[in-house]
Amino acid sequence: MNAIILSAVLGVVMMFSSVLVSNQKAYKGIALVGLLIILIANINETYNGPIFEINTYNMLAFDGFSLFFNTIAIVCTGVYFILTSKQIEKVGGHTAEYFTLIFFVLCGATILSAYNNLLMLFIGIEILTIPLYILTGSKKKDLKSNEAALKYFLMGSFSTGLMLMGIALIYGGTGTFALEKIIPAAASAQGAPAVTAQTLSFLEVGGMLLVTFSLAFKVSAAPFHFWLPDVYYGAPSVFTSFMASVVKAAAFVAFLKLFIARAAGTSVDVSKIIGVDWKMIVAILIICTLLVGNISAVRQQNVKRMLAYSSIAQAGFMLFAIFSLNEMAKEGILLYAVAYSLATIGIFAILSRMKDYTFAGYNGLAKSNPALAFANTVFLLSLAGIPLTAGFFAKYYMLASVMQTGHYMWLVIVGVLFAAVSADYYFRVIQSMYFKNSESENEGQLEENPSNIFKITVVALAIVIILVGVFPNSVLYWLYN
């Protein structure tokens, strides 16, 4: 609750600071101090309970999982601010407003981690995405940015419409928005026997399907991914970075919470009675997503576009959590959120300073800027899931959670195969940096020489990723304390 309230308040503070504070550099400071306050408040809530006692009528539930995810999201946003606030200032004339919108997105993410009610799911998703539509279109003179914003807005609204329709059907079928009760009331009432086809109302199944489609759209699972490449490519790189990291992780947490709550009430057998095999639907989504993401990413010539497709591929891996729906999946998604978000923020921080976004643009970076090239290599290795980086354990937990459910070995094998494919395009960037020479020797690959502080932070981030990769339990330790 602290994080929700404070991030909304911080958004308002940033909004007013655009009027009261004229110094562009000061916004970063205000935003960072604000994030620190939110972080402290959230950690305090983890141990001592919330500052504000608010009766939410069980619409929001703050358990260890959601609070820990909040911490991750806040820390990632902090890292994002430190690394890229300079680029945010360059986007346009509304720096303070961009910070405001990012704080609102954070508010949406914290709602999504704690929602316990379909109504809150809807509001959370909306708060998460509406500021993003604007951030996507924030380069007003750039046609690509405009196109991306419009595409994102239209497609996003359509999928939100599907979600609303689904929620309405679920409400019609069960008479409640509450997550734990979206399973038919007949099962628990009067000690009735197990759920059967008769009691599992079609409204509930149809509604659940629509909500699933909509959430699959939000996390860009194929075949609902068509918006993503254009949006990620067209949006200003700084904001793509945020979309691909914290936002995506939050959407996955929402997805996971919904399915875990659902699975707790309805067994696989019941789903089979009425001819809906949820596991199979998710499996199809996973395979489509991995296939589309990886194959398309291999064919890209532009690093930004490649990262967009690779983000689809990563979504495929995160979907494993929704497939297996066990404790390990929960741990895995948190680990994935850390590993994937930090690596993506790091890569984009470097990318947004590049002159040329193609693979050739990276040629010879190792010579001119060895520190950045090293850090970038670590980030890419982490995304590819190479051992000793955080990404390896994230992927390992995902696959292991599927193994735990049993009988689905083939899916694990498919996952491993595609992980191998993904190495191809990540290594091409590394190859460019280390083994190719830049054509224009005199000019660097970067727009301007990065400050030493930036270099140190990026390298520190890379070291953190390696540390998490070596001691993954250091992250999960916090979840259980």
């Binding site: 929700i4 308002v12 919108l101 809150m120 509001i123 604007i134 003179k141 409204l203 399907l209």
Partner: protein, 168 residues
């Protein structure tokens, strides 16, 4: 058949026809006007369910404000049937296929349901849609979502300013 049922069927037919005409009209202005008629039909349904407040708010907000803005934009753009770009055949084809798949799934879900057979809409029951009850629920049980919605609106407003304001 009671009077209520007759009205129910008339409104349902009106809603469905309007909804279809929104899609099939070549001229976007017609689409908007059909959409308005659809809102009226739905407001009629609200009244049948004894939710006068929702009915009139639906008309004020959607038919009275949002659709006027829609009409505004469409009229200023002066779109007409001839200005619409020709879509490729294969694009239409894929559209039909994906839309058809969704329809298929929903239909099969409806078909497999047993509990909904022989049931029709309930009318003239419940008083949750009356303004007094709605207000009470909104400010007690649903106070938290209600308050959080303000963040949503605020972000939309900030966004409108960011997008709309001239860059110096």
């Amino acid at each position: 058949m009671s009077a209520t049922e007759i009205i129910f069927w008339i409104l349902s037919v009106l809603a469905l026809v309007s909804g279809l005409m929104v899609i099939f009209s070549k001229n976007p202005v017609y689409s908007v006007l059909w959409l308005i008629s659809l809102f009226f039909a739905i407001s009629g349904h609200y009244i049948l369910m004894n939710a006068q407040f929702l009915a009139i708010v639906n008309i004020i907000v959607y038919a009275g404000a949002i659709m006027v803005l829609f009409l505004f934009v469409i009229m200023l753009m002066n779109l007409s049937a001839t200005a619409e770009p020709k879509k490729k055949v294969w694009m239409k084809f894929t559209g039909v296929i994906s839309g058809g798949l969704l329809l298929w799934i929903l239909l099969s879900v409806v078909r497999s349901s047993i509990d909904m057979r022989g049931k029709i809409a309930e009318v003239k029951t419940g008083d949750i849609g009356l303004v007094e009850n709605l207000g009470k629920v909104l400010f007690t049980e649903y106070a938290v979502p209600f308050e959080i919605c303000s963040v949503l609106f605020l972000s939309a407003m900030v966004g409108a300013v960011v997008i709309g304001k001239k860059e110096e």
